[in-house]
Structure formats: structure tokens, C-alpha cells
Amino acid sequence: MLKVVAACGNGMGTSQIIKMKISNVFKRLSVQADVHHMSVGEAKSQASNFDVVFCSESLMSQFKGGARTKIIGLKNLLSEQEIEDKIKAAGIV
């Protein structure tokens, strides 16, 4: 089971939207994923517990990737195509 988190400034609106889109994409790709959403502040301190962190491109600099954790920055948060392309590019599926 892949552990995924979507992060945005306040952990409310944007990350919720990203979360819904990511879940759709993983479902379509038949990947089992547990998707959470939270604020950047929280996600920063918990990033190492997740396999993938999704956020807006403008917030990418807030995160340091790790051995386990991949950071994916999105431009259009509503584009499932972009999410799918970036998941594949990062070698997650």
C-alpha cells in the first residue's frame, strides 16, 4: 500500500482537491494507495512517513525528498493527466 499525502498552505481546500484527483488516478491505474491531505507545515514534519508528497509547484521548495519520499509538484491541480504523467515519470508505478 502506497502512502501518499497532498499538501497545501492551510491543508484545507487545495489539498482536498488534489487528494480527490490523486485517488481517481491511482484507482484508474489499479494502485492501492492511502491518500491523506494536510497543511505544508504538518506535511513537512511527517514527510518521511510517506512514499509520495504532492503539492503545488510553488510549494515544492518547502520539502526535501528522502530515500523513501518522492516530492511531486503540480501546476494544474485539476489535471489528472498531469498527475498521471508525473507519477509515471517519478517511477512510482
Partner: protein, 493 residues
């Protein structure tokens, strides 16, 4: 109906009211449950949705209770020593203030949730009738919907006596707020689509009027060739991307200043501060002000939990009914499209903050009866959003002027509203751009002209999309969504 049957109906109604209607956490849980059931989700999803919505709401209430307590020394002290009231302009503090006011009046906050439902359904109807209404957008930003329905209902309950604490007020609020969601998110379609290169969403947040004004004005006062992209920012501003750090810093600064002015003697005399225990004043200030961040964090965690369930259930239902309407979502969704690679966000925040500080000093200098304390959400999210739109059309100069002015407007509009609508007594006002401009105007009209003002506001708002349509008949629906109505669109995807 004979009397015993009538008695039974009454008993059932009273039971429903006491156990569900008067208990908003359970009520919102049931709304989610019904939504999931309509979406034919498996029973365990329905159950967990119900539980998370209910638990989330209770967590939010725990945070709200803590905030009210943290506020006490400051509210009491300012009133006592300076005859001043203080209000934080922030949607969560505003929400908290209305909830505290509802509790004091003996009104149930479940009515807010009913108003929210009416508003959401009304927005769906307006989109479904888009051939007549010219509305293209459905507002789905759940946490904002909760906050706006809350403030809207307060404005109506205190402004119109016959609508107070009853279903008339709830329906009127639903129609008024639902119209605002539909019309003003619809107003951001062109500018947002242009900014994002037709990403397929509109802004559904708290500064939609601000976005529209910015889009119209920025190009005239600035030069888009001179973008903020070419400017270096001091690195420490990065910390404001983290809401915990940002809130704590703002609260430490502003509430700390107030506590220093109140002084250790006063606070010790009133048993808020206990020097006899060896506690230092500086530690007392730090601990007291940081509590705001603590409870705000708890409150937000609760809101996040129940809103996530609510949004999923609402979104699912609206997707079923309305194929292809444009979703109006959180303003932060535009941040990824900043032409200056994120610089506009921090510069917008910076100039907005300068505007707010100048305005707060002006309030003190002119002895305003209401002192405004800048909250994090309006100063950051409104001004960052306006900054992104302003930089696109008007470069650095456009951004600087618009965000500075927005900061001034937020504080002055907030000070007026917090005083005029009685929420300064509870320590908060909604405080985002539209709630410091458009809504104080609507609220003032309601206070002076009652239900007539509500009807008038709805009608005037509904005329706006008609005017937009008339100016651009050909591209109007295509701008929103090429697949919304193929026969209406000139450019099917």
C-alpha cells in the same frame, strides 16, 4: 388529526430537534451519510463518513472553546482599561465569534448547516438553468461555504426580526449566499481561465470581487513587462508558507503588544498572570499568545476532517446532476500558475501586510472603538491571490498598489463590520476581502431595510451575469467549459 396523534408528532419533533437539529455535529454527520447513500457507496464508507464528519465537528468545537478561553484576558483587559473592543479579522475567528454569539442567544448552529444546504442546492439550480441565469460555476470549497453561510446567517438574524432563528431566515440566507457563490465565482471565470491557460476552474473563495477588480484595474496602473519575477526576496519570508509558524508569529506580535500595554500588574490583579509562582512576564506572553496557534490548529484539524467528508459527498452529488459545470475552488489553486514562479504570492502577502499594519496604526491614532488584529488567512491568502492576478496584468507596480490598498480595505472594512454587526464583542470578524467590502454593504442594507434588502441584493447580483453575457455572447460559455453545452459553445473540445 386527533390530539393524541398530534402529541406524538410533537414528541417526535422535539426528540429530533433536541438530538439532531440542536447538535450540529450529528446533523452534519447525517447529511454526509445521506449524501454517501445517494451515491450508493458501500455501507462501511457511509458509516466512516458519518463518524469522521461528526468527530471532526466535535474536534472543531473543542478548538473553538479553547480559543474563546485564550481570548478572555485580552478582551476583558481592553474593555476594562481602555473601553476598547478587539476583533481578529480572520474567517476562523469570525466563525468562532458567530458561534459564541449563537450560543449566547440560545440559537442552534445546525441552522447554519441547513442554510448551507439551501445555498448549495440553489447554486446547483442556478447552474442547471444556465440558459436563463448565465451561471457557469458551482462553488464547492467546503470550508469556505461553512464560514460564509455562518456569517450570512448572523447578518440576517440580527438584521431582520421576523427571520430571527427560524426557517424564513435560513432560507433567505441560503438564497442570498447561494446567489453570491454562483454570481461571484462566475465573475472570475475569464480572468482565471486566462491566468491558468484554461485549466478548467474558477475561484470559489473569499475575494472573488477582489479578483474581478484586480483583473480590471491592474493593467491600467501597472506594467506587466516589469514582473516581480526579477526581484529577490529576503529568505526569511519563506517561513510564512507554514501556517503554524505564521499564525504564531502574528499572534505573538499583536497580542504580545496588547498584553505588554495591559501590563503585568493589571494581569496579575485579575488573576490571569501569576508572578508569585515565579512565572516571568515574558514567558506568560509567549505561552498565552502561542495558545491561539494551538487552538486554531485544533479547530482547523476538525474543520478539515468534516469538510473533507462533506465536500466528497457534495461533489459526488453535483457531479451526478451537473455534468461539466465549471468548479469554483480554493484560491490557492491559482498559485501554481503564478507567472513569477511564486514570487507574486510572497510579494502580495508582504504588501498586504504593510497595508494592514498602516491601517491598524491609523485605527489606533484615530481612536477607533474597535481595534483590529490581522489574522493570517485574509492577509496571506487574499493578498497572495490578488498578487498573482495583479502581477499577470500589471507587474510589480500593479501588485504593490493593489495589495497595499487591499490591506487597508481589509482592516477598515473589517473594523466597520466587526463594530456594526456586533461581533467585536466576541472577538472576531470574517475579514476576507469580499467580507470587508461587498458583505458589510449588504449587511448594512439588511439592518436598515430588512428583508427588502435581501431580495434586492439577490436580484442585483443575478443581473451581473446577464451583463457579462451581453458583452460577450459568442465566447461566454466556451470560456468556461468547452464541453458544458455543445450547442451553446462555439468551440467544442
Amino acid at each position: 388529526m386527533n390530539s393524541s396523534a398530534f402529541d406524538m408528532v410533537l414528541v417526535i419533533w422535539k426528540g429530533l430537534f433536541a438530538n439532531i437539529m440542536a447538535e450540529p455535529a450529528i446533523f452534519i454527520g447525517l447529511i454526509v451519510l445521506i449524501g454517501y447513500a445517494l451515491l450508493r457507496k458501500p455501507w462501511y464508507d457511509c458509516f466512516s463518513g458519518f463518524i469522521k464528519a461528526t468527530v471532526g465537528f466535535f474536534i472543531m468545537q473543542a478548538g473553538a472553546g479553547g480559543l474563546v478561553n485564550s481570548f478572555r484576558p485580552i478582551m476583558v483587559g481592553l474593555k476594562d482599561r481602555f473601553e476598547l473592543q478587539a476583533a481578529v479579522i480572520d474567517p476562523y475567528f469570525g466563525f468562532n465569534a458567530v458561534n459564541a454569539a449563537f450560543a449566547q442567544m440560545g440559537w442552534t448552529t445546525s441552522l447554519i448547516m441547513v442554510a448551507l444546504l439551501v445555498a448549495f442546492v440553489w447554486n446547483i439550480i442556478l447552474v442547471a438553468l444556465h440558459r436563463i441565469t448565465k451561471i457557469r460555476t458551482l462553488f464547492i470549497t467546503g470550508h469556505i461555504m461553512v464560514q460564509q453561510a455562518t456569517t450570512g446567517l448572523w447578518l440576517i438574524f440580527i438584521g431582520v426580526p421576523f427571520m430571527q432563528n427560524n426557517i424564513y431566515g435560513v432560507v433567505a440566507c441560503g438564497l442570498l449566499v447561494g446567489t453570491y457563490w454562483a454570481v461571484f465565482s462566475n465573475l472570475t471565470v475569464e480572468s482565471t481561465q486566462e491566468l491558468t491557460g484554461n485549466a478548467g476552474f474558477a475561484v470559489g473563495h473569499q475575494q472573488m470581487l477582489g479578483v474581478w477588480i484586480t483583473d480590471k484595474v491592474a493593467g491600467k496602473i501597472g506594467n506587466k513587462e516589469k514582473s516581480v519575477e526579477h526581484l529577490e526576496l529576503p529568505g526569511f519570508l519563506q517561513i510564512f508558507n507554514d501556517n503554524v509558524v505564521a499564525t504564531s508569529t502574528l499572534m505573538l506580535f499583536f497580542f504580545g503588544a496588547i498584553l505588554v500595554v495591559l501590563g503585568p500588574e493589571y494581569l496579575a490583579k485579575n488573576k490571569f498572570f501569576n508572578p508569585a509562582s515565579g512565572e516571568l512576564f515574558i514567558k506568560y506572553i509567549f505561552k498565552t499568545t502561542i495558545q491561539f496557534a494551538v487552538y486554531l490548529y485544533i479547530l482547523s484539524a476538525g474543520v478539515r476532517m468534516f469538510v473533507a467528508e462533506m465536500t466528497e459527498s457534495f461533489k459526488g452529488i453535483s457531479d451526478k446532476i451537473l455534468k461539466g459545470s465549471l468548479p469554483a475552488i480554493d484560491c490557492a489553486a491559482v498559485y501554481g500558475f503564478d507567472a513569477a514562479g511564486g514570487n507574486s504570492i510572497l510579494f502580495g502577502f508582504l504588501f498586504g501586510a504593510i497595508g494592514q499594519f498602516v491601517a491598524v496604526i491609523a485605527l489606533i491614532a484615530f481612536h477607533s472603538p474597535v481595534l483590529i488584529i490581522p489574522g493570517f488567512v485574509p492577509v496571506f491568502f487574499d493578498n497572495a491571490t490578488l498578487g498573482v492576478f495583479a502581477n499577470k496584468k500589471g507587474g510589480f507596480r500593479g501588485l504593490a498598489i493593489i495589495c497595499f490598498c487591499s490591506g487597508l480595505i481589509q482592516v477598515f472594512g473589517g473594523a466597520f463590520a466587526a463594530g456594526a454587526f456586533g461581533l467585536a464583542a466576541y472577538g472576531g470578524w470574517h475579514g476576507n476581502f469580499d467580507w470587508d467590502t461587498l458583505w458589510p454593504g449588504i449587511g448594512w442594507l439588511i439592518q436598515n431595510f430588512g428583508s427588502l434588502a435581501i431580495a434586492l441584493a439577490i436580484i442585483v447580483m443575478l443581473i451581473i451575469p446577464q451583463l457579462q453575457y451581453r458583452r460577450n455572447k459568442k465566447g461566454y460559455f466556451a470560456a468556461a467549459n468547452p464541453d458544458m453545452e455543445p450547442e451553446l459553445s462555439t468551440n467544442p473540445a
